[in-house]
């Protein structure tokens, strides 16, 4: 497999929220490609369209214009259920506020996610602790979300996003609720996971220090990609 081939390609994407007088142009003719094995940071001020772009890349939102190609295939013909199937199989999400299931322990969360993705019960049972070990939580298998620190919660969420080995991981400000040291740990973990399994990781952030830890930084302002690009490597 050619690791340089982009896993995710956004071309000429525009998005308008609402219509008429209250219409908001959140994105305007955005072009972006994310390669396999690459960790990309999406930066920009509040309201610039980062979350909107992330949702479009994750097939949660349909662009008003333009196209999104995921793993080489066009997504526009898909209906809601088709987009959901696509997310389930190929995209993992990480959220700013973790969005764990408060009633499920770490290992149960992963088991449920794997079962949801179609894994048989016995294989899910074996895989769940393995995933938690990958994010250094082998000793927290049976902890409930309320018993975990912010960084630990986010690592459970990362393990959940990794369940079923999706090619694309998308995070919306995953470190915003964490202190700098913990946030850096999360970013380093994500970068390792991107490199070791040729996953494409896109992380939205407005913190330049966090963005520095990515392979590449893309800046967005007023719904457009800023011309200058840079990165850590």
């Amino acid at each position: 497999m050619d690791d340089r081939r982009p896993a995710l390609v956004v071309e000429g994407v525009s998005l308008v929220y609402g219509s008429g007088a209250v219409a908001v142009q959140a994105l305007e003719r955005v072009d972006l490609a994310v390669r396999r094995g690459e960790m990309l940071a999406l930066m920009g001020p509040s309201g610039s369209g980062k979350t909107t772009l992330l949702m479009i890349m994750g097939c949660l939102l349909r662009p008003t214009a333009g196209s999104v190609r995921l793993l080489g295939r066009e997504t526009s013909p898909l209906d809601q259920a088709g987009m959901a199937r696509l997310r389930l199989a190929h995209v993992g999400f990480i959220f700013q506020s973790y969005n764990l299931f408060p009633a499920l322990s770490a290992v149960e969360t992963l088991r449920m996610t794997l079962r949801l993705k179609g894994w048989p019960a016995d294989r899910a049972r074996e895989e769940a602790p393995r995933l938690l070990a990958q994010v250094d939580l082998a000793d927290k298998l049976h902890s409930m979300p309320a018993q975990l620190s912010g960084g630990q919660k986010q690592r459970v969420a990362i393990a959940r996003a990794l369940a079923g080995d999706p090619e694309i991981i998308l995070g919306d400000e995953p470190t915003a609720a964490l202190d700098w040291r913990t946030g850096r740990g999360i970013m380093e973990l994500l970068r390792r996971l991107a490199h070791s399994h040729a996953r494409s990781v896109v992380v939205v952030t407005h913190d330049p220090r966090v963005a520095e830890l990515a392979d590449r930084i893309v800046t967005i302002a007023d719904g457009r990609i800023a011309p200058r690009e840079g990165g850590a490597s």
Partner: protein
């Protein structure tokens, strides 16, 4: 047309029941106090409904107990009869006419009248004296737990039910009482023969009952008849009706229905019980609806997260329906056990509660529908949730 995205066959397969059940159960049990309220609501509704309907069945059985245990194929009474307890005396010659009808093998008189029972320690109670012919075995007390029915042939004797001991102010065989001022002696006890009218049944032979009622010989509230095997009771009724146009002729089942309908519906007693049962359901349903709705709404963000992750709508639907099913199963299980215990306890009370297996099964269906119905409002909310919500805060 561009090719559809390749989705692994594993991911395309609909998720099995497992994860939905796990999440449903955990969501339900997560908030302990709310879970307890849910259970109390369902258990309350199930117990109240089961006991009320059980009472209805019990009362229904009670109203017709004597009719069902009397081995008469045909009942003859003065025209206008509405129930077993309240009957008018009829002419002596009726018994002979019934006796002569083709197909009738035996006809005898049965006395049924209210009387005053004076307890040994003083004080009166109303009772219903049933005077039967001891020679045929057609009528008379059953389920005798103490005493010998042969003793009833002695003068001034009676048998009553042990459930009514306290009410009748007696405790043992040999206790002496007065019926309408006439002395009488208790020679035995039955168990479980209850009266719907609250006037206990007092069984005596026809002969003795005549004495207690100060009646003239050959009086009868009922003429009860046995038919030869294979005889059509309707044919006998038709034949008899020509000879006795002014009486009511009823088969056992017709008489049981008449009495049951009178006490349960004409008096409104049964309707009141059924209304109470329905109220129990409504109250339970309101509690359960509130709590199941709150449970779903509290976990709305999680359903949004699941949708964002790509869980199909059907998965969310299953989680919510499983919440309802688990709540129904547990609540119904506990409720029925409590109701059964109450029914068991009623064996020794004047109000019998009967909970047949069919009622328990039927109530589960009702409980499940109640829980699923209570979830309906929240199902729409959870299924149509926009997964984008989890990004926008």
């Amino acid at each position: 047309m561009s090719a559809a995205i390749e989705v692994s066959s594993e991911a395309a397969r609909p998720p099995e029941i497992g994860p939905a059940v796990l999440l449903a159960w955990r969501n339900l049990a997560y908030d302990r106090s709310r879970f307890v309220i849910t259970m109390v609501g369902i258990v309350f509704a199930v117990v109240l409904t089961a006991v009320q309907i059980g009472l209805f069945f019990g009362f229904t059985a009670t109203t017709t107990a004597v009719i069902q245990h009397t081995r008469a194929d045909l009942w003859v009474a003065v025209h206008g009869l509405r129930n077993f307890e309240i009957a008018m005396p009829q002419l002596e010659r009726h018994r002979n006419i019934v006796m002569e009808a083709p197909g009738v093998t035996r006809a005898e008189a049965l006395l049924v009248f209210f009387s005053a029972w004076r307890k040994p320690e003083g004080g009166d109670e109303s009772v219903l004296v049933v005077g039967f012919d001891p020679n045929s075995g057609i009528a008379g007390p059953w389920n005798i737990v103490q005493g010998d029915p042969a003793d009833l042939r002695q003068a001034n004797t009676v048998m009553v039910d042990d459930i009514n001991k306290a009410k009748l102010g007696i405790s043992k065989i040999g206790d002496r009482v007065e019926i309408n001022g006439h002395r009488a002696r208790v020679v035995g006890f039955t168990h479980g023969i209850r009266s719907f009218t609250t006037s206990p049944y007092v069984f005596a032979t026809y002969r003795n009952a005549i004495d207690y009622g100060y009646l003239r010989d050959n009086q009868a509230e009922y003429v009860i008849a046995r038919l030869a095997p294979g005889t059509d009771p309707m044919a006998v009724k038709r034949a008899l009706h020509r000879r006795l146009p002014s009486v009511d002729l009823l088969t056992r089942d017709e008489f049981a229905d008449l009495t049951k309908t009178y006490w349960m519906f004409t008096t409104g007693a049964g309707t009141a019980i059924l209304v109470a049962a329905a109220l129990g359901l409504v109250v339970g349903m309101v509690i359960v609806a509130q709590v199941l709705y709150a449970t779903t709404v509290d976990h709305l963000t999680e359903f949004g997260t699941l949708r964002a992750m790509g869980a199909p709508q059907g998965f969310i639907l299953r989680v919510i329906l499983w919440q309802a099913t688990i709540a129904a199963l547990l609540g119904h299980g506990i409720g029925i056990v409590i109701a059964m215990a109450i029914a068991r306890g009623s064996q020794y009370s004047t109000a019998l509660i009967i909970i047949p297996p069919g009622l328990a099964v039927g109530l589960f269906a009702v409980t499940f529908l109640m829980c699923a119905g209570a979830s309906l409002v929240s199902i729409r909310k959870a299924m149509t949730i926009d997964p984008a919500m989890v990004f926008q805060r």
